[in-house]
């Protein structure tokens, strides 16, 4: 046998932040994300200068990122994405802050944190990800990479 084949499915276990179920294509970044001043909530895109996702849309994606940064307007900016129907389908992140906790709650999308493995190491943009927020279980299916 040569190198072990990549398993078709990887499962991560974490802690529920907001319950619910969603599945979709992953959008992964190693950069933290600013809300107010960092995204355009009318279009659901990252606008921060020098951000690796600059110009990219997170609408209907499973957004995988380290956490929130910047202005206290984080929750309100992401809350508006729910109203404009440009929100992600789910969020997976590592660093808990008041900004992201409140934002996750008012976006009403499943969110999980405190994982047994770093989701930034495991998930790649384009993977198909199933998020069971209530149980804190995330299933990753290798998808066509972008």
């Amino acid at each position: 046998m040569s190198a072990a084949p990549q398993p078709a499915t990887i499962t991560l276990h974490g802690r529920k932040v907001v319950g619910g179920y969603a599945e979709g294509a992953a959008l992964v970044t190693r950069d933290t994300i600013s809300g107010w001043g960092g995204i355009n909530p009318m279009t659901g895109t990252v606008i921060e200068t020098r951000h690796e996702l600059r110009g990219r849309s997170f609408k209907d994606k499973i957004l995988v990122f380290p956490g929130a940064k910047g202005s206290s307007g984080w929750s309100a900016a992401f809350h508006v994405t729910r109203i404009t129907a440009t929100a992600p389908k789910a969020m997976l992140f590592n660093e808990m802050t008041t900004k992201i906790a409140l934002g996750a709650v008012v976006m009403r999308i499943p969110c999980v944190t405190d994982f047994d493995r770093d989701p930034l190491e495991v998930i790649e943009t384009g993977d198909w990800v199933k998020v069971d927020g209530d149980r804190g279980i995330v299933e990753i299916h290798r998808g066509p990479r972008e």
């Binding site: 940064k69 206290s72 109203i83 409140l102 709650v105 008012v106």
Partner: protein, 429 residues
């Protein structure tokens, strides 16, 4: 999540629908954080039911009938519109996007003014103090040491924790609006002793004295520690309120600093050991001449054209001493025809500046003293602005990206010189 009897009563709706919806949101928020209980908060600073065109459109309301709809559905994240009663605890409103007097100078529409006025009047009728500033601590809301607060506005949060020794996380619009009605906020983060110790030790090896020096030091530290807590030792002079204000605002914008310690200066840092909670720092980071110069160059990297057409001061909102300094530099002089000067402050401080004659001096020189907002928040610069001059590291961080302009960073005197001459002559330290 453990609720007291009175908290459970609110959640069960025994104190009315609005408090029930507010508690429901706060419980969801606390559970998301992993908090186990609430603390009683007696001081809330937010932007209750702040109106915007997108919200008015979405909820199909006008500025005249929007308050309870927006408060319920957006601020409290409730599917049902509830009657919003008088606020339960000391609450104040922070900065908005338009100056009630200088809205035309800012290029704002009458409709924008009207939205702001209607929202403000409805908040005032429910007991919210209309401070309209990012510096509530300069406008009459000064929390006591140890007081549990629920504040928005990163530069005010860092001041509240670090300088006043009061306790707040960086709250958001929804959590502050819920806290105003209930007097509750999750017992998490900066409300807890063990969360407030320094993690990073910054050793200052160059003299840090001027307001610009403190702004650069804050900007450097924010980038170095991100969301962690620095303790600063070394060649720092004892800073006044203005230096704290510029330092904290800078650290909270290049990073996410919500609290800092200055050895022998801030209330929870009598000694380095106390600030660190007797633990070793994660990192010891030097700040010398090289780091200071690099920070200055980074802040000035967004400018190349020495012809300045806009000078904006007052980020965070100017203190009276800053308006005095600006008026002193402008006395008997006239700013360049090619340049505009806008100075932002709170209504409270402007009233003092009016009484002291500073506003009249600044106006006579061709400048404007504006309140309630700033260029970044209002997304407003004079028409045709290409190159700004700023004395705030925070504003320099945000404004070029928000407005697509160049910006120089320097001292207040450098900026006033630019306003008078239309040229940037700031010098690298």
């Amino acid at each position: 999540m453990r609720l007291t009897d009175s908290e459970q009563a609110m959640l069960d709706g025994r104190d009315g629908k609005a408090k029930q919806k507010a508690m429901d949101l706060l419980v969801r928020y606390a559970e998301a954080l992993g908090a186990e209980r609430f603390v009683d908060t007696t001081n809330v600073a937010g932007v209750p039911a702040y109106y915007s065109p997108v919200l008015l459109d979405y909820y199909k309301v006008t500025a005249d009938d929007a308050y309870e709809v927006i408060y319920s559905r957006f601020d409290l994240d409730s599917d049902e519109v509830v009657e919003v009663p008088r606020m339960m605890v000391n609450s104040c409103g922070l900065q908005g996007g338009v100056d009630a007097e200088g809205w035309k100078t800012l290029g704002k529409s009458y409709e924008a003014l009207r939205m702001s006025e209607r929202s403000e009047a409805a908040s005032a009728a429910r007991g919210v103090r209309i401070l309209k500033t990012c510096t509530p601590y300069l406008a009459g809301n000064v929390p006591k040491q140890g007081e549990h607060c629920a504040w928005m506005e990163s530069s005010a949060v860092v001041y509240c924790n670090s300088v006043l020794g009061a306790r707040t996380n960086t709250e958001g619009r929804e959590s502050t609006s819920a806290a105003m009605l209930t007097g509750k906020i999750p017992d998490w983060g900066f409300h807890r002793d063990e969360f407030r110790f320094a993690t990073h030790h910054i050793q200052v090896e160059v003299d840090v004295t001027s307001v610009m020096d403190w702004g650069m030091l804050g900007y450097f530290i924010g980038a170095a520690v991100e969301e962690r807590i620095p303790v600063v030792t070394g060649r720092i002079s004892r800073p006044d309120l203005i230096r704290h204000k510029h330092f904290g605002a800078a650290a909270a914008s290049s990073g996410g600093v919500e609290m800092y310690h200055l050895e022998g200066v801030t209330p929870e840092a009598a000694t380095l050991r106390k600030a660190l909670g007797s633990k070793a720092p994660i990192a010891v980071i030097p700040y010398g001449k090289a780091e200071q110069r690099r920070t200055y160059d980074e802040l000035n990297a967004k400018a190349s054209d020495p012809n300045v057409d806009f000078v904006m001061l007052g980020c965070p909102h100017a203190a009276l001493e800053q308006l005095r300094e600006i008026a002193g530099l402008l006395t008997g002089r006239r700013i360049s025809e090619n340049c505009k000067l806008w100075v932002f402050t709170s209504r409270a401080i402007k009233a003092e500046a009016d009484a002291s004659g500073y506003t009249a001096v600044i106006r006579a020189a061709g400048g404007a003293v504006l309140t309630d907002t700033c260029s970044s928040i209002a997304q407003a610069v004079p028409p045709g602005t290409k190159v700004a001059a700023l004395d705030s590291a925070k504003q320099t961080h945000y404004l070029p990206a928000i407005m697509g302009i160049q910006a120089w960073f320097g001292t207040t005197a450098d900026c006033i010189d630019a306003a008078l001459t239309g040229r940037w002559n700031g010098r690298r330290p």
